[in-house]
């Protein structure tokens, strides 16, 4: 019979290194994916995922199964990702403050020109990249909620536990996030499915 995550973690606590390896195999891909979508950088996402697993390993002796293992795991991951995003933002702000005056004329590196409509932008960019950017442009907590809901398919109680909010607050958060995405990605969302394959992906 397959052992539950909690049992695996209790076995790690008892000194069974193989159980830790099992948890690593099971959760490294979901974690790296989640973190990659949170921080939008594969190398940083991998570093953060490593840090998550290390923290789990270091905390093994104090582990008590008070919540689902995935709630604990993704809570660590979310906190690390949010810290990383904030640190990066501060670093970028510091760079832009230190930049020479000539740099003031140039548009921010990651954002499309404001006068460019999203359907025009699609001509130049891959639609996947546009979707990624739209998700990434959400406020951090909304982004985490959407990623956990849509891609990790977690239930509301678990996501609320990870984000440390009530289920009601989470549902409002998710509605606002999806409403923003619906508006931002309207050209993709309202485009008939039949046309997507031919027009949506520039060769």
């Amino acid at each position: 019979m397959a052992r539950s995550d909690v049992q695996l973690m209790l076995d790690v606590k008892a000194g069974d290194e193989a159980s830790f390896d099992f948890l690593l195999q099971k959760y490294r891909s979901p974690l790296v994916n989640f973190l990659n979508r949170m921080v939008r950088d594969t190398a940083t996402a991998e570093d953060l995922a490593q840090e998550v697993f290390l923290r789990v390993y270091r905390a093994r002796k104090q582990y008590t199964p008070s919540a689902k293992f995935t709630t604990w795991l993704f809570r660590i991951a979310t906190n690390l990702a949010l810290n990383s995003v904030r640190d990066n933002r501060h670093r970028r702000m510091a760079v832009s403050l230190d930049a020479p005056a000539a740099g003031e004329d140039s548009a921010p590196m990651e954002l499309p020109a404001p006068q460019m409509r999203i359907d025009e932008h699609m001509i130049e960019r891959d639609r996947v990249e546009i979707i990624r950017r739209a998700i990434w442009s959400l406020p951090e907590k909304q982004r985490a909620a959407v990623l956990l809901h849509k891609y990790e398919e977690m239930d509301y109680m678990e996501i609320a536990g990870i984000l440390d909010c009530s289920e009601g607050a989470l549902k409002s958060l998710l509605f606002r996030a999806y409403e923003t995405l619906r508006v931002q990605l309207a050209p993709l969302v309202t485009q008939p499915v039949a046309q997507r394959g031919e027009e949506g992906r520039p060769s």
Partner: protein, 171 residues
């Protein structure tokens, strides 16, 4: 019928089929009479399909090996934790406190008058205190008592003071 805003909390849960019965009933009633929310609901479903176009990424080839290396470098025994920086700090602080307490409890010597002459009266007083104790009436015990022999050699007391008052009472 509830307003668009009122059902917004339950709309996502309704669409992903995780709404509770009350939420489901409220949303269904609202959608039946609100074309704008019906359109929104359809577009939410379409949005979720669009979001599935974003492919998943796989961890790099060396991910596991790198992590195992880092895990192997972690201290594996609890006693090893004593050598961790935090534990070292706590240990150092505890030792410092213990040292302070020990130094504070040491008998205070008088550096202004350190000569051996000053020791002599206090030794005599100690002897006076000892000789009055009942247990010292046992002469055998008394003769083997180190403090007396030290006292007699170091302070050269008077002969009548060196002998207990009634040494032979138990003989």
């Amino acid at each position: 019928m509830k307003s668009c805003e009122d059902i917004s909390k339950g709309l996502i849960a309704y669409l992903d089929q995780r709404a509770n019965p009350v939420e489901r009933r409220d949303v269904e009633q609202h959608l039946a009479g609100c074309p704008a929310c019906r359109t929104r609901a359809q577009e939410f479903r379409a949005l979720w399909k669009v979001m599935e176009e974003v492919p998943a990424v796989e961890p790099s080839f060396g991910f596991d090996a790198r992590l195992r290396q880092r895990v192997a470098a972690e201290p594996s025994h609890s006693w090893f934790g004593w050598f961790a920086p935090q534990a070292r700090l706590v240990l150092s602080a505890a030792m410092l406190v213990a040292l302070t307490v020990w130094v504070a409890k040491l008998p205070q010597s008088n550096p202004a008058n350190p000569s051996p002459v000053a020791v002599s009266p206090s030794t005599d007083q100690d002897f006076d205190a000892i000789k009055d104790l009942g247990v010292l009436e046992n002469y055998d015990v008394l003769t083997k008592f180190d403090a007396l022999s030290e006292s007699s050699t170091t302070s050269s007391p008077q002969p009548d003071e060196a002998q207990p008052n009634e040494p032979s009472s138990n003989d």
